[in-house]
Structures are given as structure tokens and as C-alpha cells.
Symmetry: C2
DNA sequence: CAACCACGAAAAATCGATTTACCCATTTCT
DNA sequence: AGAAATGGGTAAATCGATTTTTCGTGGTTG
């Protein structure tokens, strides 16, 4: 084709202009699709563009406008399926509107979160999709407010007075989990989570507790919350079981908790669902191929991503009005890890085995 | 602090200059850390910077140079632990050198891969870390060559005549898997993979086969390869077992293959390792908490990322010389999914059960 | 026939930095 | 003492686009 040598400098708008015998402004107009250019000139521009392999430099093009066609995305991590899918979705939605997504991971650190935000501010991103490490009341959101950035908060949030929020309907999903577990006959259930993620954990916990108590007022619900990290949770869980506590089901409020629960079951030689039932918030591909398959709450990634971007672009385009707080419905997949209690060796009779 | 109202326009270098009573060039020098500035002036600049909350605009700063301080990363997907960790690593390495990482996912499509590459070329990235969908001989690498881009290829590659490559030492790892399986007494082994990823699959397969045949010349090694997608592989695997083939061990050459194998085992009611043994290339967090824990080859993500970035920056800084092809050693974690053959209900005697 | 409009395109300003060329005092060297 | 080197700065050019202003031409209108 008309591709030039790899070595030489990229063609600029001026190269095209002089080749086509018009001014740079005209080339700009043609590229932007403005109709007030004589068709003959437009054609010569097209030819020159083709010949030189010219493409608009998006950064130079963005220089003049206050908001650049870049969307920032900040996730707590990239390693999990959930955030991986989220980034993929956001990326493709941004592209659809001619924006480029720049993603960064805060690695579960609020300090890094703010740092990244500052960098994105430097980049003059048009908007930010932020999945905060803790919740909407952290330093990151404060930074965005202080600097007049436009953004949307997702995932570990409920609502905010300055930003639109989009998250899974944790409470409703937890209520359904409660119905399922209670329906299976469980009356002693352990819930595990991370206290740091205050708002979400509270919603999930309250949603679960309210429904459970309504269905069976005598139900016993134990709660083991670690503050920040997974390892302390593992230790607390170990203590809990070591004390002789024998719930018949465990509900984990986040993915890593499900892994911790499973590994503790392993250590103790317990199998699901005979010895204990397990449901986790957050689904993963492997959960349906293990034996038993693990029951899980599936977060609606596409909906969250879609509505987040919708809200974000509405603000970017100047949309006013009070911030919205959206809750997307989850799906609860009851799989083999949940069954009726009382089949296992330790339940009822067992205690000191 | 001295933070201004969120509403007003960001301070530019000229605002700082006029506040400090010097020229923009002087401000630029101070920000760049040039020492030939009178300390009194430097101080006034610092004060003005503090007062106005000034930060250099990285895009404007990059305008003049040919290569911008941006590194592009293109991964086949973001959803898996491996590529998630890879992006995280690359991001932090890029940041350490004052670069920003812009990551994009090709979603296992060569067309998208080239598209993204073109976009990154438009962005004039300083370099690209590309994990190709198929291998190093695809259109993406060709595009990079044709446009004189600097880049490094990772993961599904072995070596290239134009770019540095960094990948896991598939052959050595597969040899070790062979030693383990043969050592356990397996003499009929099924290997599954994706034919599309030619170079890597060949290396893994050959490494496995060579070592296996050396250790036990009579060993039977079956191979089931699907071309592009996972679902056809599932179908082929189903056919293979339906024909009555009963290998005592399966070695999956990639993560999704391991999932497919597991789900097929489930369908047939087979348990590891009694009915069949399983090892997979690629580790994941869940593999150690399931029952049985799944044996896996762990790819050295940090080393791959580290050496890829090292090589990339060497080229960016003008390093010459023939392309290097690096192989990073893997770790093989033999877990409970592997055991000696012959305990299961179907092996030996079984056939029509 | 002069005044007015519309059209299309060129010229110039702009975005926010960096870098080059050049200027003016001192110092240093011969 | 006169020339050359050096320190410290500034104005202006530059990067690659977009956007605003200006300009010339041709056609209408009073």
C-alpha cells in the first residue's frame, strides 16, 4: 500500500496540507468531517492522507480542549475476574465513544489511589471511574471533589453526595442468599467479611440478617470480620472454629473470603455440603468445575459498567442534577456447595471429634 | 492548604512564571531540576508552584519529543490471574521510570490487536509490550515492524527476528511435568491445548514428549488440540473419552484447558487423582483450596514482566544489537490432583462401566 | 454602481510545555 | 587591557493539532 518507510517521521497535518496544496486548517476541517469544504479540495486532502498514511495525533488534537478524550479507571486490583471483566467492559464502552481508557490499579491502598487520581488529573482526563479501596468517603473522592473532577464511583459504594454511584444490589442479593440457606434448613450461619469495606459489608450483612430473622426469628448468625487484610481473617476464622463453633453454613461477603473459607474447610477435612454449606459473594469461572461446585452471587458486571459509563458521559456532557445512586440486581447461583444441614459427621452429635 | 477552588482553570507554566516574576523557560528549568538557576529565583518559583498548586502537564510536556513517556501494553484478556498480574507488574515498572502504562485487551482477536497497535502508534508510545493472541508471526508484529515501533513480545512467543521476546520456559517446565507423571507410573497420558498458539504449544508438547519418551519409550501420548476456541476443545475432549480412551493422566497446556478438563471429569463422575490425574500449565489461587488441590505449572510473572521492561527500555534508550529471546524458568507445583494410576474404578478393568 | 452577503479558504492565535538562539554581565585567560 | 569563556536569563520557535479572524471573490440588491 501507500505505507512509507518505517524509519521516517510520521506525517503531520502540515505535510498533508502542503501535499494537497491547501492550508492546515482545511485539512483539519476535512478530517473533522466539516461540510463547508469544496469537494475538489476535500478529495485532494483525502488523496494526500492516503499517500502519506496520515493519522490525526490524538494528543495534539486534545491539547486545546480543557477535557481530553481520555477516561481514567482506577480499580483496587486487576487479578480478579470481577475487576478484569470490569476493565474490559469499561474499555470497550469508552472506545465506542471515541475515548481511550487509561486503567490503573490502586493495589488496595488508599494512598496509591489518591496518587493515581492526581496523575489522572494531570492528564486532564474527561472523567474517572473509581472503584474505591474502602468506600466513597475516602481521600480519593475528597481529592476529586476538591479539584472539580468529574467521576463515577462503583462497587464498594452505596451513595454519595457529590458523585454518581453504581454498584451491585448487595442487600437484595444477600436477602436471597438468606432465603436459600434458611429454606435449606440452616439455623446457625457464619458470615465472614472485611470490615474496612464498610458500606457494602453493612448492606450485605443487614440484608442477610433482616431476611433471615424474618424467616426464622431464632436463627443464629455469627459474624467474623477482619479489618483490612485477608490473613487476619484466616486467623480469626481458625480461632472461631477452634472454639468449637459449628455453624452449618458459611456466607462469605467477598471472593477472597470464599477462598479462605474453603482452605479452612480443607484443613479441617470438612466437605461441602455434607459437613458445611458455603455461599460466596462474587462468582468465578472455576466455581462451576470444582467438586462440589461453589454457590455464588454473580455481580452484573456489564450492567454496572454500562450504567457507570452512561452516568459518566452524561456528566461529561454537562448533565446537571443531584447525583444518582444506582443498584444493579445480582443473580444468585445455588450450586452443590449448599445443601441441607445435618448430614455431616460433626453436626448435631459431633463436637469434640 | 494552598489548593485553589475546584472550578477555576489549572495553573499553567506562564501563571507560575508571572507569579514568580521570571520567564516560563526558567520555570521549566527549575521543574526539570537544572542547576544553573539562581537559588533565589528557584525559591520564588517553588513558592509560586506551591501557591498555585502547579503541576506539569505531562501531555504538553511530551508534545515536543518524538517518543512520549507512555508505554503501551496489549494483553489477550484481563480476566485471568496471569494477565492481571502481568499488567499490574508492568504498570508498576513503567511508573518507576516515570512512564504511564496504557493497557488494552485484544480480547483474543488478531484484528483488534492490530487496531489497538495502530491506536498506540497514534499515541506515539515510546514502546509496547505485546502479548500476541497467536504468536510472534501475526499481523501485529508485522505492523510494528512496518511502522518502526519499538516493542517487546511476551508469553505466546519463542523468538523473533525483529523484537526481543520474553516468555516462560515452557519446554523445561513440560519436561518436569513429564518426569513427575512418568515417575508416578503413568504410561498413557493425554495432552490438551490450543493449536493456534503454535510456538508455545509446540514447545510445551515437544518438551513433554521428548522427556517422556526418554524415560519410558513405550509411553502412549495422545494429543487433543482445538484450533482457536475453548468450546471446540470441550467437544473434542468429549468425543475422545466417548470413544473409550482412558488415559491415566491429563496435561493441559493452558489454563482454560484445565477448566475444561475438570468440567469433563465432573460430567463423567471422575475424581482426581483416583480416576485420573491432572496437571495444568498456569496456576491460579483457587487451585490450592479445592479438593483435590490442582497441580500446576507456575509461570514467573514478575521475572517475565521485569525482563520485558528491561529489554524494552534498553531499546527505547537506543540499545542496538540482535533481538534477545529470553526464557524464564517456571515452578511446577505437584498437588493432590496427581497420583499413581490404577486406583480408579475405570482404569485397568473398567471399560464399559 | 456602490453596498451587502455568503462562501470558502488562508492566516494567525491558542493549548502548555521544552528548547534553541541570543543577550548582558562578570570572570578568566593571554 | 582586550578577548574569550561562563553564568544566568529571556524571547521566540517548536511540537501538531483546532479554532477564531481575516480576506478575497462573486453574486444580489437597492
Amino acid at each position: 500500500m501507500a505505507r512509507r518507510q518505517g524509519q521516517q517521521r510520521r506525517a503531520s497535518i502540515h505535510d498533508v496540507a502542503s501535499h494537497a496544496g491547501v492550508s492546515a486548517a482545511t485539512v483539519s476541517k476535512v478530517m473533522a468531517g466539516v461540510t463547508t469544504v469544496k469537494s475538489e479540495n476535500a478529495q485532494r486532502v483525502f488523496d494526500a492522507v492516503e499517500l502519506l498514511g496520515y493519522r490525526v495525533d490524538p494528543l495534539a488534537s486534545d491539547m486545546r480542549r480543557a477535557k481530553r478524550r481520555i477516561i481514567g479507571a482506577i480499580m483496587p486490583e486487576f487479578e480478579s475476574e470481577f475487576f478484569g471483566q470490569m476493565v474490559t467492559q469499561l474499555e470497550s464502552l469508552a472506545e465506542q465513544r471515541g475515548y481511550t481508557l487509561v486503567a490503573a490499579s490502586s493495589r488496595e491502598s488508599e494512598a496509591r489511589e489518591t496518587e493515581i487520581l492526581a496523575r489522572m488529573h494531570d492528564w486532564r482526563v474527561a472523567g474517572v471511574v473509581l472503584a474505591p479501596v474502602r468506600n466513597e468517603h475516602g481521600p480519593a473522592a475528597a481529592f476529586m471533589k476538591a479539584n472539580g473532577m468529574t467521576g463515577v464511583l462503583i462497587d464498594r459504594v452505596l451513595s454519595d453526595d457529590a458523585f454518581d454511584t453504581v454498584s451491585a444490589d448487595s442487600a437484595a442479593a444477600s436477602a436471597e442468599v438468606a432465603r436459600e440457606l434458611l429454606g435449606n434448613g440452616h439455623r446457625h450461619i457464619l458470615v465472614i467479611g472485611l470490615g474496612e469495606q464498610a458500606a457494602t459489608v453493612r448492606a450485605r450483612l443487614d440484608g442477610f440478617r433482616a431476611t433471615a430473622l424474618k424467616l426464622a426469628p431464632g436463627v443464629r448468625i455469627d459474624v467474623v470480620l477482619a479489618e483490612t487484610d485477608v490473613e487476619p481473617l484466616r486467623a480469626q476464622l481458625r480461632d472461631y472454629f477452634a472454639k468449637g463453633e459449628r455453624p452449618t453454613a458459611v456466607y462469605s461477603l467477598f471472593l477472597k473470603g470464599t477462598l479462605v473459607a474453603l482452605s479452612e474447610f480443607r484443613r479441617r477435612g470438612w466437605h461441602c455440603p455434607n459437613d458445611i454449606s458455603l455461599v460466596g459473594f462474587d462468582d468465578a469461572e472455576w466455581m462451576q468445575v470444582t467438586w462440589p461446585a461453589i454457590a455464588a452471587v454473580v455481580q452484573p458486571v456489564r450492567q454496572i459498567a454500562g450504567h457507570a459509563m452512561e452516568a459518566l458521559f452524561a456528566r461529561i456532557e454537562g448533565g446537571e442534577g443531584p447525583p444518582i445512586a444506582r443498584l444493579e440486581p445480582c443473580k444468585v447461583l445455588m450450586r452443590e456447595s449448599v445443601g441441607p444441614p445435618g448430614n455431616g459427621p460433626h453436626s448435631g452429635t459431633a463436637r469434640g471429634t
